[in-house]
């Protein structure tokens, strides 16, 4: 499990590795707040995540709203692993991460 935040001049990139669940939720929130407060475009890389639980999804969803409210671009990138996609899909949470897929 690991969450890292890297910032360049224009971008704040959060990379998720391993299981991102309640144990990581506080740290994840902290990094999202930093990223969204930086005024830079925010990107969240999901390809390294092996599990996302409801706390992770709601954090990403809240962060997206926060960023969009501040006029900052918020993007999720990286191919999410099949097991993660399946679990999120089963719980009806997939579209909160990838709203464009629902259209």
């Amino acid at each position: 499990m690991g969450i890292t935040l890297k910032q360049s001049r224009k971008l704040a990139v959060i990379r998720l590795e391993g299981a991102i669940d309640i144990a990581a939720a506080a740290e994840f929130k902290n990094l999202l707040l930093q990223a969204c407060g930086s005024g830079k475009d925010v990107r969240v890389a999901l390809d390294g995540a092996t599990d996302l639980d409801a706390t992770a999804v709601q954090l990403i969803w809240a962060a997206r709203r926060s960023a969009e409210g501040a006029g900052v671009a918020f993007t999720i990138f990286g191919a999410v692993q099949d097991s993660v996609s399946s679990a999120l899909g089963y719980a009806g949470l997939h579209q909160f991460l990838f709203p464009l897929d629902a259209c």
């Binding site: 669940d21 309640i22 144990a23 939720a25 506080a26 994840f28 929130k29 999202l32 707040l33 969204c36 639980d53 409801a54 706390t55 999804v57 709601q58 954090l59 969803w61 809240a62 962060a63 709203r65 926060s66 097991s83 399946s86 679990a87 999120l88 899909g89 089963y90 719980a91 009806g92 949470l93 997939h94 579209q95 909160f96 709203p99 629902a102």
Partner: protein, 717 residues
């Protein structure tokens, strides 16, 4: 957070224990009614619940082991496997292993036996004809883990008509902290049938205000399944206390499933705030239809809303103790209010008295539990002992819904176990002997419970050979307990059975014969301030009745006085109060008999019984009391009125004073002894009987009471 997870495991253990009790009971009933599909379903659901929830809370080996049994019962449900003694016995043995796995790590808990588990699984696989699959035994069959094993049998769907259920599920604030995972629950729910899921983020606050460890997401679902409501509830059984859950029937049962998603598939719709995504046609239609039928209001199904709360027993005990203290203080307030001529204080005092009384009743009701679970667990004991002893015995149960205080129930298990073991070993005859005696080859042990005044009567009876009184007397003489040639009444002879080390068994078996069990029964019943009554008919059977107080905490009492001493009689036993004048006594020619509207009621003058010195008043009061022996009158000087009585234990020194069941502190700070009408009546009858036979019995006890009454009952603790 680790503590929270531990707490959730504890909660799982507690609930799993209850599920196991039900499972055991269902298995034993199934043994008697092997064609009962409902019982098969009950067994299957219990196994499914233990498996699913076990995996969710980290009991992965337990889940994997249970999965194999669940598969076997899935075969039974589908008509591919017949119920036989071997499967029942294997499942019962497996249940013991599950219990051990559940308690592993707990202090004093038995260790589970991996080799026994492997043996059980091998036999189960042999029965089901399934080849051994290492993965099934070694991997957890976690719901939502997506393993093949997990989906293989875990459908929970009965072969009934399909119907749709509308389910609302919103995890509470503590849900995630407790170690639960909503996604796993939804996955398990999906195994019951076609699931349409709509998640809502409407409750998610802005990022800055969001508690990261709380789940704000809620779900509206439509489940198309043949499973019953109970099977759906079972998915949430371990998290019901920390989530908002409603399960409503969305449509009537239907045999067609054309319009519903196939089992295991979920059609998904997402909702952002109030917006509904368009892919959830079925969900939206069903929910919309349902709301329309109630004019925009949701139709809540009452049983689903009958929520319950699990509270540690220690907290409840503390609560009841505090109520007891409150009752005592309220009695003081009433006493003070009565002494002052102040209407306002009197009004407040009466209001507090009313509220305290209500609080007391409610708090006591919370601790009242049906005795069913205690009774049901003996089905297994009877089943196993019958097999070991080569006897045919069925257990029948009556009055399982009778309620009594949890503290009493907790102490009933051991005495009942010893009584049943004794009946099985010594009372019930082998089938050939029974047949030769013209009896059914299958013997019956009957457990019963019923209320009787402020007591509950627990009966253990059998239709065996009865007690051989002569053998009891002979053994008693051999042990020097009674003199040779002593004329014992039947009651006195039976009382010997409860002496330490007393046994008439010719040989000691694994089951009984050491003379320890019945002594344990007596000690435990004594500690509960109860009594034991034994009746036996040679050749027909034996009945042991335990009379126990309904509660050990607070009762409604009637305060009476004799001289300067106060006593409390349990109100539940009292039928009425009548006056006793000197003229009445003369009319009865000095006999202790009162004519109560044509009924002759014998009475006991407590002043004499307790050796309390005169003077006695001109007009006394007879308290007419209902006892197991019939109506009796207890003569006292004055009736002081009702009182809520907080029962305080007497010290060990006073334990032998059988006619007193405890003491209570009155509003004026003095102590009143609580009398046990049942024992008082027995004691009085015995005293009269002994006087007639020229034996001074019970005099010391009565003298003790007299001293106690006069000399202040400072023994109350």
């Amino acid at each position: 957070m680790a503590n929270k997870a531990d707490q959730f495991k504890i909660a799982f253990r507690e609930e799993a224990r209850e599920v196991l009790v039900d499972l055991e009971s269902a298995l034993l009933e199934l043994n008697e009614n092997r064609a009962d599909a409902e019982l098969v379903g009950r067994v299957f659901r219990a196994l499914h619940t233990i498996k699913g929830s076990g995996a969710m809370f980290g009991f992965e080996n337990l889940a994997a082991f249970t999965h194999n049994l669940e598969s076997a019962f899935d075969e039974v449900r589908n008509g591919r496997l017949e119920i036989g003694s071997e499967l029942i016995d294997l499942t019962l043995s497996a249940l013991d292993q599950i219990r051990a796995m559940l308690e592993e790590g707990e202090a004093g808990a038995p260790q589970s036996d991996p080799s026994a588990r492997a043996e059980i699984l091998a036999k189960v696989r042999h029965l089901t004809g399934r080849p051994e699959k290492p993965s099934a035994g070694d991997k957890p069959a976690a719901p939502g883990a997506g393993t093949e094993a997990g989906c293989e049998a875990g459908t929970g769907i009965d072969a009934g008509p399909m119907r749709e259920w509308s389910i609302h599920f919103a995890p509470g604030a503590e849900f995630m902290l407790n170690g639960a995972n909503p996604l796993l629950l939804l996955r398990e729910l999906g195994q019951l049938g076609g699931l349409s899921v709509r998640a809502s983020m409407a409750a998610v606050p802005p990022l800055g205000e969001l508690d990261p460890e709380r789940c704000y997401v809620s779900w509206e679902m439509v489940l198309a399944t043949a499973a019953e409501r109970d099977a759906i509830r079972d998915v949430f059984i371990f998290v019901e206390d920390c989530c908002d859950l409603t399960i409503e029937a969305a449509t009537s049962p239907t045999s067609t499933a054309d319009s519903i998603p196939a089992k295991g598939q979920a059609s998904i719709a997402a909702q952002t705030g109030s917006a509904v995504a368009g892919t959830a046609d079925l969900t939206a239609r069903v929910l919309e239809d349902q709301r329309a039928t109630s004019g925009g209001r949701r139709i809540y199904d009452a049983p689903d809303h009958a929520s319950s709360l699990r509270v540690p027993a220690a907290k409840l005990d503390q609560f009841v103790n505090l109520v007891g203290e409150l009752v005592t203080v309220q009695a003081r307030l009433s006493e003070i209010a009565a002494q002052r001529d102040d209407i306002e204080i009197a009004a407040v005092s009466e209001e507090i008295e009313r509220l305290t009384s209500s609080l007391r009743e409610n708090s006591m009701n919370i601790r009242m539990m049906p005795i069913r679970a205690t009774f049901e667990k003996f089905r297994r004991l009877v089943h196993d002992l019958a097999r070991d002893l080569g006897k045919n015995v069925e257990l029948t149960i009556e009055g399982a819904d009778t309620e009594l205080d949890k503290t009493v129930i907790d102490q009933l298990g051991d005495p009942l176990m010893h009584l049943i073991r004794n009946s099985m070993d010594h009372g019930v005859e082998p089938p050939d002997v029974r047949t030769a005696r013209g009896k059914r080859p299958t013997a019956t042990i009957h457990l019963s419970a019923r209320h009787s005044g402020a007591s509950v009567l627990i009966g253990v009876s059998d239709d065996g050979g009865g007690i051989d009184v002569e053998a009891v007397e002979k053994r008693a003489v051999e042990r020097g307990l009674v003199a040779a040639g002593a004329q014992l009444t039947e009651r006195e002879a039976f009382a010997l059975l409860f002496q330490p080390g007393f046994s008439t068994a010719k040989q000691i078996t694994d089951v009984s014969g050491r003379g320890v069990g019945m002594d344990v029964v007596r000690q435990r019943v004594d500690s509960l301030r109860g009594s034991i009554d034994v009746t036996s008919e040679p050749g027909l059977g034996t009945r042991v009745t335990l009379r126990l107080p309904l509660t050990l905490a607070i009762i409604d009492g009637l305060l009476v006085s004799i001289g300067e001493a106060s006593f409390v009689l349990p109100l539940a036993n009292i039928l009425e109060c009548i006056e006793l004048t000197r003229a009445d006594i003369e009319r009865a020619n000095g006999k202790h008999m009162a004519n109560v509207r044509g009924e002759i009621v014998p009475y006991i003058r407590l002043r004499e019984h307790f050796n309390i010195l005169p003077p006695r008043p001109e007009i006394e009061q007879i308290m007419v009391v209902q006892t197991e022996q019939g109506h009796y009158g207890f003569v006292v000087d004055r009736v002081l009125g009702n009182c809520q009585t907080v029962i305080k234990n007497l010290g060990r020194f006073y334990r032998h004073v059988q006619v007193v069941s405890g003491a209570t502190i009155l509003g004026n700070g003095t102590v009143a002894l609580i009398l046990d009408p049942e024992r008082l009546a027995q004691d009085a009858v015995r005293a009269i009987s002994h006087r007639a036979r020229g034996r001074p019995a019970g005099a010391a006890l009565r003298a003790g009471i007299g001293r106690e009454a006069k000399g202040r009952a400072q023994a109350a603790s």
